[in-house]
């Protein structure tokens, strides 16, 4: 009989943190990111309106705000990945 192959252990839940808590945190962060994406959609509409009237000041302000919101979403996703490790 051949030797059994080595196997990795199943991932264990972090100590002191239940799976339900992890799921709740995931849901909350998901809702946060969903709100951020909704705001970015609104900002894209504002930028398009500004483009119609060639108001580049308003268009750039919208773009800057959208980038900030995108960075917030990326931070939250990074936090979620660290949290679940």
């Amino acid at each position: 009989m051949a030797a059994p192959p080595s196997r990795r252990p199943l991932p264990a839940s972090p100590p002191g943190r239940t799976r339900r808590t992890a799921g709740t945190v995931t849901s909350i962060i998901g809702v946060f990111v969903l709100v951020l994406v909704s705001l970015q959609l609104f900002l894209l509409m504002v930028a398009l309106d500004a483009a119609i009237t060639l108001d580049d000041g308003l268009a750039w302000a919208s773009a800057l705000a959208s980038v900030v919101l995108g960075a917030c979403a990326a931070f939250l996703y990074g936090y979620l990945r660290r949290f679940q490790r």
Binding site: T26, L34, L44, L54, A59, A63, G70, A73, L76
Partner: protein, 207 residues
Amino acid sequence: MSSSDSPRDRSRRDAPGQRQAPEASSSGGRAAGAEGTGEEAAGADGPGEAVWRRDFPVPAAGEEEVTRREFVRYLTLASGGLAVATLGVGAWTSLQEPAPRRPKAIAALDDVPVGGEHLFRYPTEEDPAILLRPAVDEVRAFSQRCTHLACLVVWERADGHLVCPCHHGTFDAADGRVLAGPPERPLSPIDLEVRDGVVWAVGGGGH
């Protein structure tokens, strides 16, 4: 292989793709053909431990959590895409240069009746504008594009308003300011001069 680990039990634990053929299971000794494979080794490690768990080490209780995390991941990607799109719109807007304002003859003053209007284009042929003559010695002109969503406004003489038929944005025909409706900015006025009985546009207008 332990004596209690029958081929039938093993086929129940293993993944569907790794199940043995029915004829192999029914023949008892023929099931030993799996010896030396991962299936055999998994059975030797104890009950409930199958090889397929190595390749898919996510317990059933955590599947919902993984799905939510993936959803957040896609949302984050969408967020980045929206940010890039908005940046692109800003860059495109900055690259657009406003049309030069060159003086342009619009119409002879006598051709515009008192209380009437005359449509023209200024500063380019893609910029519709409207000339109003509310009194004998008074002319005004505005860009005809509504500042809400660029529909063309029309003059309602009775009220003295310029009205956008799309969303009922209402502007004062005296100075172009917003009176009602969704527009936030006033109509763009056009600077006029009357030279030898001809109305000239000399600036303003456009967006």
